[in-house]
Symmetry: D2
Subunit: 366 residues, 4 copies
């Protein structure tokens, strides 16, 4: 496979480039009979779309979705659902000056070496714009999982550059452009971003994502473990360099007596596992963290080479997110939802309809 299909039973095949005529996807395997309209999908697309604050790219894309197939009289038919989003705000000429050189930390170098051809317009296929179709597809998965098991997906930014953003309350997340679960730090985050932009530099971010009310038993050991597939899904998001499940890297220094979540008749007493044991969901909340690297397209000159291998200095202008992590929260939720959806179908293929036996949980993270 050439890598443009996500999932095995609930599959999402995406297409498109940042500045081509359109982007979109084909979703195969959606159970029939679920009510579905464009509005169900547009909501999450709007959470991800560019141009919504001064801290993200100023490209203006309404990201209006059209359902081309798979829905009849307002219900899914069980056949492929195709989503189409026309690109509106292409500016290909922005990229002509960089078509012959490589940006440090950018995929332009590897695409050119792999394919012997390169679409320089906004990163072409490697652009983070291509997360829009999966966010659309995941909205369908989320709706089904919510109806079937009550599963819900949430996320927040827990660090922006050097600034740790402590979790205060879920209610804050929708009230600021950073997806921060913290109201008091917003002015500080805004100043940080304003200074960063002025300096012509970029920064990284850390995102936490959580799924609550996950049925026990999802995951296919021993290679398609639920956490392995989550790691695959999250590491595959543009610019991600690290993934943790539950206690993550902190578990290295934990003792067994500390790490293993004790069980009680009322549920698990803690959640170091992040909701997965042996690659199978426990019924605890699924918790994962990702590290997002700083954007590679920056206004500061850096050493590089051109296609002929000659040394050059390169700096990037045009419209770029100074921190791609700012818009990453809905994307991370989407990827997690797609993994759970796929595993829900895989589980019932082998074991029959999932009996919803979600153990009570005493302690969750955060």
């Amino acid at each position: 496979m050439s890598g443009n299909t996500f999932g095995t039973l609930f599959t999402v095949t995406t297409f498109g480039e940042s500045h081509g005529p359109a982007i979109g996807c084909v979703i195969d395997g959606c159970p029939p009979g679920m009510a579905l309209s464009e509005a169900d999908i547009q909501f999450d697309l709007d959470r991800r779309k560019p141009g919504t604050s001064r801290h993200v790219t100023q490209r203006q894309e309404p990201d209006t979705v059209e359902i081309l197939s798979g829905v009849y009289e307002g219900k899914t038919t069980g056949t492929p659902i195709a989503l189409l989003i026309r690109n509106q705000d292409q500016r290909s000429k922005d990229y002509s000056n960089i078509a012959e050189s490589f940006r440090p930390g950018h995929a332009d170098y590897t695409y050119w070496h792999k394919y012997g051809i390169r679409d320089p317009r906004g990163g072409g296929r490697s652009s983070a714009r291509l997360t829009a179709p999966v966010v659309g597809a995941a909205a369908i998965a989320k709706k089904w999982l919510q109806q079937q098991y009550g599963t819900i997906f949430r996320g927040y930014m827990s660090q922006l550059g050097e600034l740790v953003v402590p979790f205060e309350d879920w209610s804050h997340v929708t009230e600021n452009p950073f997806f921060a679960a913290n109201a008091s730090m917003i002015p500080q985050l805004e100043s940080y971003m304003d200074a960063l932009r002025k300096s012509g530099d970029s920064c990284g971010a850390r995102i936490e994502v959580v799924a609550d009310n996950v049925p026990v038993g999802l995951g296919q050991p021993i290679y398609d473990k639920l956490d392995a597939d989550i790691a695959y899904a999250l590491m595959g998001i543009n610019a991600v360099k690290g993934v943790e499940i539950g206690a993550g890297f902190a578990s290295v220094a934990q003792k067994g007596t500390e790490h293993g979540d004790e069980l009680t008749p009322e549920g698990f007493a803690s959640n170091n596992a992040g909701g997965v044991l042996g690659g199978i969901s426990t019924g605890q909340s699924i918790t994962a963290s990702i590290a997002i690297k700083p954007t590679s397209s920056i206004h500061t000159p850096r050493h590089s080479i051109d296609k002929a291998g000659n040394p050059i200095m390169v700096e990037t202008h045009g419209r770029h997110d100074p921190c791609v992590g700012i818009r990453a929260t809905p994307i991370a939720e989407a990827m997690l939802a797609l993994v759970l959806m796929d595993h829900a179908l895989r589980h019932r293929a082998q074991c029959g309809d999932v009996s919803v036996s979600t153990p009570k949980i005493r302690a969750q993270r955060p």
Copy 2:
């Protein structure tokens, strides 16, 4: 798919349980005409096998491999290669006392919920013993990649519980039972483990794994990115809770001017990328880190429940690794090798034979 096959073009399908009659695998997609014998495979199996020091499980398994198919007159034929390892040192009775209860942090809870049935003998299918067949399969991948591109795989333990183990030199790794790249800390690591065992507890570990001489262009964006598949492979190893590529979580606090590896006519000037940009290999060394949680089977009593949901205290006896991370280095190398092998074949499917154009690298990690 039910999750017991690793890879898409170079596939490894494993079978077996910790205390069943045998474990093994079927490898499909191996290029024909490569010299191969059991000795090629046994070497890596011996690096992984139990019972080689007092710091790991005392189960005695020679892990002798038999090639059942796919090799004729000492050469691979292009047809499936089946590997068989008979289990020798089963002690099923060790587990009868835990068959009705669940260990905190152990897969026994999730297997029972998923399948409605559970093999309590040494964890059954969820045992780390099942890493042996993939280590065997990866020996074949390593040999092919080495011959084709000169690619080599190495790894070491960089942290044991709270003890950070600084990298000194690769030569030390084979000289101690911890796979530490550091000679002077060995006495400290041995005392740490002796104290841990006495206390009836367990600890985690951190492992670094590196592939050198990787051709440019491997990886299939945008979902089967090389780093996404590495994350999938490494997170799928028993007890792993976190995966980093290159700078990993440190990249959150890096600036773009710091993170993006500059290019020069002599090669990359640094390796924050960990050898992957846009999901495609750059020709830099691939570098990854994993966090391994402490073993869940410990001699200390913990709160849990039995199958009926009643509260109980559970403690585990029998033979267990007090730190599964100690034997994890060859396993991590193996998983990385399987990912690169699969992507080498995927690349040449679409783009033809890989032209080995490995850019010179000035700075590598470590």
Copy 3:
């Protein structure tokens, strides 16, 4: 998988229904760097499109294709190629009268039982209209195979209802609406179809399809044999009930001395094999035949039941092909091309670039 993707390395994922807003597909795995434009694809779409003679459905669809992605400056980039065809001539109301009943021999019965929902508009997803996207995708495969190996694909109708249509010459095929390789029988075929339409009935057809200049070595035994995949591809075409490779059912009564194609230094002396031995291409021409059943939507009343299980009489009006086999020749060629394309990539994944060693052939069929 839910069955809407064809192929494993060169994959075609289609979407759409007969009377929805659009049909199309996403092609993944196309090698980069090949010149490609809409004109390359339109040619084959025009050979398949409806309304081109009085013997086929009178639905007017220009089937104009738009390439949405995967091509930059006239060349394939190696990323997904999305094709979009807007439906133009929908008449959903034609189908309201049949929405509650089942046509003998039609998929409406099984779709309703499988999905619990049914799109009655022109057969919805089960319509032969959905062969358009694969014909489009196959045009890309044909171009690549032609450039790489000189492979060409041809087909013709060898039987229409009871009328056997002997092969005379390839040149005739493009000169009549039946794809008959025979000029003299055209008046007879036209009268036959005119009488059939008047009678309100339908008939079957037999199609032969041939690939010349196929490299030796394509096919992946022992399950993805080349002939097994051809059978899968051809039997999957709407209304096909039988598939033969080479001598087909005639081989039952052949002796071994008669069937096995002798080899000479100048090539094979005959082609009973149909170009495949042991599931791998021999370099002989690939030859296959298919049987197409008569259309199920006919103007003659037949016994059936409604959704409630009550007996009814059903007859179908609206626009239908009285013999779906008439337009099947380009579809069969397309499916054969997709199979060979997929296997060409699979072969080079495992065995490296195909060395084009096509043995000389003395005798071909027809």
Copy 4:
């Protein structure tokens, strides 16, 4: 994929060569909790094994199966089931004289061209001996389908060379070595085979295979149609050159009024469909026919070439089936069972547990 795995959710990965140390398979995706022992599997292996009459190869293989994994305390665990069959009666030296030449109609030519290497011992991987593991795997599928839906699989030989063998009664099939559903013709079939053997020649055969009590709704349009997958499975059996579903090639000359099976409140009135409409099972019996070519290894000299391309005469000695079709009936049943099993799991992945609504059938074939 390299073609050695059958199925998508219920997968069978086979390994082994005709004269290697062992053959076997790994079955993944079997639902947990089903009682299973070696005896369940041995029954079908014994129906297929060689040496049971003078009309088949005299190789003596008990084909004793060992279950290596996936069963605990007599029940399937949901983890991979590995089956091992040791080869007992290898005679590699029989083949030394043919290692440098190619038999007309044999896979030795294509294997050598594809892989650049060839195992001449009894056809190596291309041997019909490799049908044993799938017959074993299918025994598990049959048991599950029988318990779940009451589905049963049967087959018979309907033609041997030129001799048509009319169906009389299922009871005869087990009473003769030909799987003929006809008692009176047995002496004629025995004389035919005796004469054939004496002449040093071989012949083809035609096999019919039927599945009764198939639930409605199995099949994944539009590419993994149930009949497409059946065609793939049956054409993939060694020596098969043609596949028909239901009326097959006879449907070419049928009218729509004749072919389409009318529905009545009591069930379908006929079965031209062979149990599949639009790629989805109807609840009618699934009926399929296959054409098997004559064995290529014969005692009669034929024109061929050696590896260097020089003309030679080749004739084969050693132990060969003079009609591979004689043992093909249990193999065809097995392949059909594997297809239905896979689709049963695929269906419930997307649509939930199959509601067993098998419409009553008035007319079945034969």
